[in-house]
Symmetry: C2
Subunit: 447 residues, 2 copies
């Protein structure tokens, strides 16, 4: 913590601008040691020349952010030079020669956390923010970064700590049998906490899907037009399409951005009861595997072969039971129908080959995700948070049961302590060092 | 020129920081139209929140550089946000919605040139600076950017213009037969100019090589150890090496950074008088082709088979005559010698297989490049400049001849005009629009 760290903060390819960032006590001294130009005033972009020994290296802008009003809370200097990989590398090398140390991944954010500029979940949100590829993933990361995320939980945790203090006090006076903490109020608090935590845990799967791409499986009988649908959604010829049933054997996965979401569209082998050979059987096995991972299933059937009702009746047999995803029913090949059939509730009629009905299908996909909570700003999306909330939930439920059964104060206190510790881990109020190391190592360098 | 342009100025991959740059009259108004935070003072990095409609998009720093003290000479705003491709794209999209136009490649630098913040050769140097991969290429670009490059030529051009004015004046008084411009001084000036231009033209090939990577061909008889040498220089197993003569058929090219230079090392098929088959003959044809393009030739021979003197005697037959590169003589396989042979001037003794003598070889390569002028800061490296200087040289030589032969003033004036125009094209003092368009289209967007 005492030393000064340096890293390239921008992506590393030739570009107009590249930024090197220094943080620590020596940040300004190191930057000025190879600077020809005016000494920068705080927060003022100052033009000058960087020197490599006696020779000029680049014309650059230096901005100095004195502690504590900087990203890390330490003295920070940002050197904005031409975005040449050679220049950026040399700037870092010179800083290292002058006593800086190369920052580890996430070390700037770690320092911001350690100087209380960011809570731990906010620091994690920055890593997410940088990686976000869709509007929904970005919204999730930003709301977490802005701290809205855990404000409720945090408030509940503070009350928990109050109760805990009172109950610990009680125990000091245990011989006198006073009750400082109202058991009925504690019950209410724990029930509220249980409700919050359970809701967040429930939203974990969708949160994770929004962050990493929502898995959407395209399934159905052989030759129902699944690959044609994939191509139509992607608006390109990704999958090989032929009239031969069973053309798709491998599962194909493609990313599609739709309504602000990132979808991982998975094309699968056609499902049927009696596969022709071992290769087809293997394809079907893999398709069912993908089903289990999917968040949404696009069940495609050939409406010139099966009515929607027949398709829905046969589907369970084909799909098996090993999945929890919602299903969108897609009646494909309406172009093959000689007479139009009446619309059926909850079924989307399309011709993937001709592109008919695709707008309605896309709308239905987005609506289905929103219905499942994907449009919420507050979704649990980190495995680490999930684990902590599971711990918190177990403790809260334990405390609730003890309370209801009239259990001893000492046992209740034990559970309350576990619950507040678990919640505290998320925001970083209580976090062992090895967890910190693990969290920040996933950052990119320079952040 | 009247509109406001916008572009992402940093490389586009997830990173800690990304910068969007606006330039033009509306730059500040557009930036503030989706900004929640204090209005930035000139050149002061100001923290606030970018808005996407009503919802927050990202926490960012805005720096405002009012005209004329900015990169382009116009009002410039730099928005420094989290380096998320999603955020950067949205920031640009919002700027476009608010009236900005997407910048064309190099348009920021074009505006800087049009507002006389940069000369044309300086603007070109920025594109080189960004792309520079080696210390030598970087040094070349920076010296051009700093304007040191053409200062001499420019001074000579100004004197040329003075003479031109005097001679044009003379022509107005032609009946009176006055000589305002001293012919002997003009002769001295033109000779000095001829010397400068000729020197610059001579250095064009090495300048280009330094900028784009110096082509170095590794040639020699089959099984002399050329591929082993390539691998040894690269310190990796790039080329397939075997005891079978003629293993290398294609020419392999690899980049190597040595002594601040970028080398394009070219491994070639072994050369011999009587190729075994058509494939080998084709390999030899290609090797000779590469020779013609090379700047430096590493001629490798097996010193356990040929003495250095024999190798140097046979080489012309193998190499042909279609090249101008210097040759480094490399006696390979010294590990196979039972008795050491006396060192020979100008021959480097190595064992590529064992890594012996590689330091001396690397030193010799770097020294050879320096001897050929590669270490100079002022090297012509652009085809455009080369063409202009060729035009200038032709005109200067024409004027010199006329002067010496007592040619008429009108003809001399014509040549002087052509010369000053040609030199003026380089710095952009005289440049047709289509040349401008061509130059700046090679820039990256955002610069």
């Amino acid at each position: 913590m005492g030393d000064t760290i340096v890293a390239i903060a921008t992506a590393q390819a030739p570009a107009a601008i590249g930024v090197v960032r220094l943080s620590g006590k020596e940040a300004l001294a190191i930057a000025l040691s190879f600077w020809q130009g005016a000494k920068p005033h705080p927060r003022t972009a100052t033009l000058g020349m960087l020197l490599d020994g006696q020779t000029p290296l680049d014309q650059a802008l230096i901005t100095y952010f004195p502690a504590p009003h900087s990203y890390t809370g330490e003295d920070v200097v940002e050197i904005s030079c031409h975005g040449s990989p050679y220049i950026l590398r040399r700037v870092v090398e010179i800083c290292l020669e002058r006593g800086a140390r190369l920052a580890r991944p996430g070390e700037f954010s770690l320092r911001a956390y350690l100087h209380r500029k960011l809570s731990l979940d906010q620091a994690e949100a920055i890593a997410d923010l940088i990686q976000a590829r869709s509007a929904a993933a970005h919204r999730l990361a930003l709301s977490q970064f802005r701290g809205a995320y855990y404000q409720k939980v945090r408030a509940l945790r503070e009350k928990l700590i109050e109760f805990l203090a009172l109950m610990e006090l009680e125990m000091d006076f245990s011989e006198e049998d006073v009750e400082l903490a109202s058991r009925s109020q504690l019950l209410l608090l724990l029930e509220a906490l249980d409700g919050e935590v359970t809701a967040l845990l429930k939203a974990y799967r969708i949160g994770q899907a929004v962050r990493e791409g929502v898995p959407v499986a395209i399934v159905g009988r052989p030759n129902a037009g699944k690959s044609t649908l994939l191509n139509a959604l992607l608006a390109e010829e990704r999958a090989i399409v032929s009239d031969t049933p069973g053309t798709t054997r491998d599962t194909l996965e493609e990313r599609l951005y739709l309504g602000g979401y990132e979808l991982r569209l998975i094309d699968t082998a056609g499902l049927r009861e009696n596969p022709a050979d071992a290769i087809e059987a293997e394809g079907i096995r893999r398709a069912r595997q993908k089903l289990a991972q999917a968040f949404l299933i696009l069940y495609v059937f050939d409406v010139s072969e099966e009515t929607p009702t027949q398709a829905q009746q046969h589907a369970p047999l084909l799909l098996g039971t090993d999945f929890t995803a919602s299903i969108l029913w897609i009646a494909n090949k309406i172009d093959k129908l000689s007479t139009p059939i009446p619309s059926t509730d909850g079924v989307i009629f399309i011709s993937a080959a001709q592109g008919t009905g695709m707008d309605a299908l896309e709308k239905a996909i987005v609506e289905s995700l929103a219905q499942q909570g994907a449009s919420s700003d507050i979704l649990l999306s980190h495995a680490r948070h999930y684990e902590s909330f599971i711990k918190a939930q177990t403790a809260v439920k334990g405390a609730l049961q003890l309370l209801r059964e009239g259990g001893g104060s000492e046992l209740i206190v034990e559970e309350l302590r576990a619950a507040q510790r678990a919640i505290g881990e998320i925001t970083g109020e209580i976090t062992p060092d090895e967890i910190l190391g693990h969290i920040f190592s996933k950052f990119c360098i320079g952040k």
